[in-house]
Amino acid sequence: MTYHDTPSQPLPEMRYVDASAKPSEKHAYAVMTVNSAGLKSEPAAASP
């Protein structure tokens, strides 16, 4: 927990690699945020 309005280190990498994805199938992904208190947002609209 920090009272500063800047991101804590180490900064997360803004990238996700789905190692289990299969070339012949469609996959859907959505972004969700979690704050430092553990509260989660609704998932953003999924994109194929």
Partner: protein, 404 residues
């Protein structure tokens, strides 16, 4: 490990003294015994000293390879993490046996060069004496990975005192007549603080494989005032002679952390960064600073700069270093075609006054931070291809401080 051994060689550097001969079975047994003993008490890294003084009868490194393999084999069975890290001083750049590096990392003195025309001043310079910069040999490491140049530590070393302590031009590698640590210990705290920052940055910029080993506790030789030991500790009943360099060392390490950890974040836009060392001039900023600028994609001409400023003290300084990476601030900046600017002034402590390392050195813009801020904007304008960065308005995102 090189003392009190049964089989010895003349020391090539000091007449009348001797060093072990690693080619002799007794010496190897003794080295193996010492290595195993250190591992048994929990040591995970062992510095082997002047390995290149001890191998005059082992030019092919057969014997070193043999005994170090034995020590590593012992570590594989008995060490806490089933391995041990070995290093030594390597004037030649490294011990390589059939493509295999014998050390896990290299070590060498900083090789500090005195500036005879400026009392007590000294600098680092590539090519001075036998400095290791750019010369660390590569190969296959004991852990199995390969490199062109093995990473190395450079230390503020000790070896004694000349016949003219405190005076310039004693010759060789003396710094104002002293060895490196004794010269360092005789400077003011402010000078030591600035010099550690300078050395850390210089080594990092000069050779990406080099790393400054911070001084902690080391013998010094100073016949004029009787000083016998350098301690980086804060003075306390336990360490009454501490020279109080702890805060500086902590701040240098903390300030260095962001540059490694922020790189993976890529959520769009681009980042520019400039570093300025602390100036020793009274009319310039006496605090080192890192400025970072985030530029949004798709803004042909920027309309302003959101300046995110941190507060006083070391924690605020460290936290401030990540401001340009904040996604919320970036979203606001992108919406209005603005750049996002963050600063991290490398203060040394929590003081808010003008004592050494205190924050007033930067938060009073008359003391140099204004000029440094404007200089950074000019650099960012040139680097980014956005000359308007020098003239667009600023929006200060933090009202705790009035300076840039």
């Amino acid at each position: 490990m090189e003392r009190r051994l049964p089989v010895i060689l003349p020391n090539q550097r000091r007449s009348g003294q001797s060093v072990p001969d690693v080619s002799r079975p007794e010496t190897k047994l003794w080295f193996y015994f010492l290595g195993a003993s250190f591992i048994n008490v929990g040591c995970e890294a062992i510095h082997l000293g002047q390995t290149e003084l001890m191998n005059h009868n082992d030019r092919n490194l057969d014997h070193y390879s043999h005994v170090l393999t034995l020590i590593r084999s012992y570590a594989a069975k008995h060490a806490r993490r089933h391995m041990v890290l070995l290093d030594s001083h390597v004037p030649s750049g490294g011990l390589v046996y059939d493509g295999q590096l014998l050390m896990d990392f290299h070590s060498f003195p900083l090789r500090i060069m005195e500036m005879p025309d400026t009392p007590q001043e000294a600098i680092l310079k590539v090519g001075f004496s036998d400095g290791i910069y750019g010369r660390s040999k590569g190969g296959t490491t004991p852990s199995g990975w390969k490199c062109e140049h093995l990473p190395y530590l450079v230390e503020i070393d000790n070896w004694g005192v000349s016949k003219t302590p405190g005076q310039a031009k004693a010759g060789g590698i003396w710094i104002w007549g002293y060895d490196e640590i004794t010269w360092f210990a005789h400077q003011s705290q402010q000078y030591r603080s600035n010099w550690l920052r300078y050395a850390w940055d210089w080594v990092k910029r000069t050779d990406p494989n080099g790393f400054l080993q911070m001084p902690g506790s080391r013998t010094v030789r100073s016949p004029r005032d009787g000083m016998r030991w350098y301690y980086a500790n804060k003075p306390s009943p336990a360490v009454p002679d501490g020279l109080d360099d702890e805060d500086t060392i902590r701040a240098v390490w903390a300030a260095d952390r962001p540059s490694g950890s922020v790189e993976p974040t890529h959520a769009g836009g681009r980042y520019l960064k400039v570093d300025y060392p602390a100036s020793t001039a009274t009319n310039e900023l006496q605090t080192a600073v890192t400025y970072t600028l985030w530029l949004p994609d798709g803004a042909p001409r920027l309309r302003g700069i959101i300046v995110h400023q941190h507060g006083a003290g070391t924690t605020a300084s460290i936290e401030g270093s990540t401001a340009p990476y904040d996604l919320h601030w970036q979203a606001l900046a992108k919406k209005w075609d603005c750049a996002l600017f963050g600063s991290s002034y490398h203060v040394l402590n929590e003081k808010t006054d003008l004592t050494p390392g205190g924050s007033e050195h930067w938060f009073d813009p008359r003391r140099g931070s204004e000029k440094t801020f404007l200089k950074a904007l000019a650099e960012f304008a040139a680097q980014s291809g956005h000359p308007e960065l020098e003239t667009v308005p600023w929006a200060n995102s933090d009202d705790r401080c009035s300076s840039p």
